[in-house]
Symmetry: C2
Subunit: 293 residues, 2 copies
């Protein structure tokens, strides 16, 4: 893999983000084999020159590096460990799961990969659709240093901030840190704006006062701005966020760590899912407060 | 007050922030009369040319503009409405309370001021000691437009981001928005870092991955950095933050607005006060999680 132009790459999971990421790999000149649960979502990538395979195992059989970017930990498990899964087809390959998934599963996959003479990395991302499209993702990587070094040229095609965080699982743990910080921050943004609205303040004027100080940050500026405009369209779906918060809470529980604000955020978001808001963006947490004001 | 160099100013409350703010007013050439509950804290300001008065009323009797910067709403009430208070001495003056205090009290003070032919503004600040020293405070102002216009030249000596938020009380309400956003954001920062620490991650490396993305902001970068260094020295005292959160919760309750994350933050911070941590900085919320990990 020193000549990165000729790395044979497999990509599994061609959702909105995966499609952009696979596109960058193709654009760099790598031959690409792909699989997706529903084949129609692969159309764009196939038109750009990728080759379809009928199973994850078939993708892996063709590839030196296999990247997976699917939905839930159970999807990851199926795609890697199923009868037609990546590990059934991989030989001496570097396997990279970029799904946001459980740290525990990441460690298990790394161990299973090692038993088949493969190397594995967990490499979840942040930056969303825009980050994927612009190849500006932040990529948080767990796994052995030599596997990280080997993967880096490919990861650099997709991301701008690529950091090895430690051994297997450390990438997923870091992503959980990210989601935990966001979970409470967006609650604070929603509560602050709900309070301001109830108090009769002009919210854009409030942002002029508080946006650049100690309350300032991405969630207040970007998500706060969307809330004020009544824009609840998804940058990141509530249903995916609830999944991530569930993983984080389960891991925290395993570590006997009590995270009450995270638990509260998950409760509020689960309430929104119950009200049919799972396909809105995370800033739609504001609806919880609106309904009560 | 069109010739701002000659405005006779009174300043009551020479704590760490008030001292810096009064210093900027003196440095601009205004004659200054001062009062502070404990006289020794006035020494620096008196040495710089201010004149001591024995009561708030005596300060107000000398001043066209009176600024108060004291501790709690009850202090504000005493300083403005007490027998020797500002309103007992003020004549045709512009009265500005820059304490973080209750919006309800701000409205009451404005009404009381109007009955004595005075104008009042609530103008709490954010930016802390550093902002006060560098005259870079964000100042959130409530009150009539003409009073704001009259006060602006003086406020500009102390702040860099001065915004009129509406009528009496709106400045305090805006400051509450600021504190409400911070309350949950710092919980998220502490929970994310506590999780990372429990997971065995290297926290400075975690910040490299998550510091510039959707979790990013002042609390994560500045307070997160201090937490990682074990620096719990006060930028802003926990005891003052607990006071502010109490005001915000009381106002929310009055507006029948349920803010569970704010309530949780106040509960956790109150627990730290009970453990003797009231004089640490707000980032010491991390100690709550450390004690449980």
């Amino acid at each position: 893999m020193t000549d990165t132009k000729n790395t044979r790459v497999g990509f599994i999971g061609l959702g909105i983000m995966g499609r952009s990421m696979a596109g960058h790999i193709l654009a760099a000149g790598h031959p690409l084999w792909v699989y997706n649960r529903s084949r129609e979502k692969a159309a764009e990538t196939l038109a750009a020159g990728a080759t379809w395979c009928d199973t994850p195992a078939a993708v892996a059989a063709q590839s030196e590096v296999v990247i997976t970017m699917v939905g839930n930990p159970s999807d990851v498990e199926q795609v890697w460990l199923g009868a037609d899964g990546v590990l059934a087809g991989a030989r001496d390959a570097l396997l990279i799961d970029m799904t946001t998934s459980s740290p525990e599963l990441a460690r298990r996959l790394a161990a299973e990969a090692a038993q088949r003479a493969c190397r594995a990395l967990d490499a979840p991302v942040s930056g969303g659709e825009v980050g994927a499209r612009d190849a500006k993702l932040s990529i948080m990587v767990g796994g052995a240093q030599d596997a990280f070094d080997a993967a880096l040229p490919l990861l650099q095609l997709m991301g701008a901030n690529i950091v090895r965080q430690g051994e297997a699982g450390a990438g997923q743990h870091t992503k959980m840190c990210n989601q935990i910080v966001i979970a409470s921050t967006i609650m604070g943004v929603c509560e602050g704006l709900a309070y301001g609205k109830a108090a009769g303040l002009d919210l854009p004027t409030v942002l002029k006062s508080i946006g650049a100080g100690a309350a300032g940050g991405f969630q207040l500026s970007v998500m706060g701005g969307k809330i004020i405009e009544g824009d609840f369209a998804p940058g990141f779906f509530i249903e995916h966020f609830v999944k991530d918060l569930g993983i984080a809470l389960a891991e925290a529980q395993r570590m006997q760590l009590d995270l009450p604000a995270l638990a509260l955020a998950r409760k509020l978001y689960t309430g929104l899912v119950d009200q049919g808001h799972s396909r809105l963006g995370t800033q739609a947490l504001f609806k919880h407060y609106e309904a009560r004001s």
